[in-house]
């Protein structure tokens, strides 16, 4: 297993392996997301309090979960890059930032749209919403820092440090609903606990969560492969791959 991970650290191995997975991952992601959305829009019963606006939960909750775990993965890549100097980790960090930013943007926007019919307001400056907005700025900060600095190695180290420092925001997002008084309800989806909602509402949410994670890895791998092609363009194997397309 360890050897498999070690081999995966080579840009070429990663490229070849994930290229083979790509069509299957893309098809599976499309099927799961489409199936989940149709289920959520057509077959889920309306909530007794929120009515049909509860259908927004199926796109908001997975986005909010993924926004946080995407950041955790970015910080993980940052640690690997700083400690072991694995260049694939730097590429992974660079590739995940725009994806994470767009998913966090989705969490914020769908949350605001859901907030209007349920809370009566688009936005409140409470701890959960504000810390999620900070998460969005952290992703954008990593992207901005990368494009502002010259020297790939120096820029990579600076982004890695910023990503690790930003980790402090994750427990704040996670526990803000317990620590402070807030309009935001507690977590709707917990893998390790019995669902607080009926199974007919929880199952489509599980499908959407799986779909969002599949989507995340499919796009992340695409972006990493692009970065590999750019950085390794002088190697014989990349020239071969480019020529055969």
């Amino acid at each position: 297993m360890l050897e498999w991970f070690h081999r995966l650290g080579s840009p070429r191995t990663f490229f070849e392996m994930t290229s083979r997975w790509h069509p299957w991952l893309l098809a599976l992601t499309g099927l799961v997301l489409m199936g989940g959305m149709i289920w959520a829009l057509l077959f889920v019963p309306p909530d007794y309090q929120q009515g049909n606006s509860v259908r927004i939960m199926y796109i908001h909750v997975p986005a909010a979960m993924l926004a946080q775990s995407g950041y955790l993965m970015m910080a993980g890549a940052a640690v690997v890059f700083l400690v072991w100097r694995i260049k694939l980790a730097d590429m992974a960090l660079l590739a995940v930032a725009p994806l994470g930013a767009s998913i966090t943007f989705l969490a914020l926007v769908t949350g605001a749209i859901w907030g209007k019919p349920t809370w009566g307001t688009w936005w409140v400056w409470d701890a959960r919403l504000t810390s999620t907005l900070i998460l969005f700025f952290l992703y954008v900060g990593v992207m901005a820092l990368r494009s502002a600095m010259e020297g790939r190695e120096r820029a990579g180290r600076a982004c890695a440090i910023l990503a690790i420092v930003g980790l402090v925001n994750l427990p704040i997002i996670r526990y803000s609903v317990d620590w402070w008084y807030t309009l935001h309800q507690p977590a709707s989806f917990k893998l390790m606990e019995k669902p607080a909602m009926p199974l007919e509402m929880w199952l489509p949410l599980l499908v959407m969560v799986i779909g969002y994670y599949l989507f995340f890895f499919t796009i992340w791998f695409m972006r990493i492969r692009n970065e590999i092609l750019i950085r390794e363009q002088s190697t014989e194997w990349v020239r071969g791959r480019v020529a055969e397309r």
Partner: protein
């Protein structure tokens, strides 16, 4: 199915605007996330091929 008609499905008891706006924005952002790296890959391949063509013998030498 939880709706009696297509009209009821679109209207969603007056909450259709919120639901459809949220799903619409989500679909656009997800599709853009697929489109961007796809376009970037096409650009990388184009540039790579142009560079390979430039390296081949005789390339870049103008005929007199």
């Amino acid at each position: 199915m939880k709706f009696e008609s297509f009209q009821a499905f679109l209207n969603m008891d007056g909450q259709g605007l919120f639901v459809w706006a949220a799903y619409g924005i989500t679909c656009i952002v997800l599709l853009l996330n697929v489109w961007w790296p796809g376009m970037a890959l096409a650009r990388i391949i184009r540039t790579g091929k142009a560079q390979v063509a430039g390296r081949q013998p005789g390339a870049g030498v103008e005929e007199s």
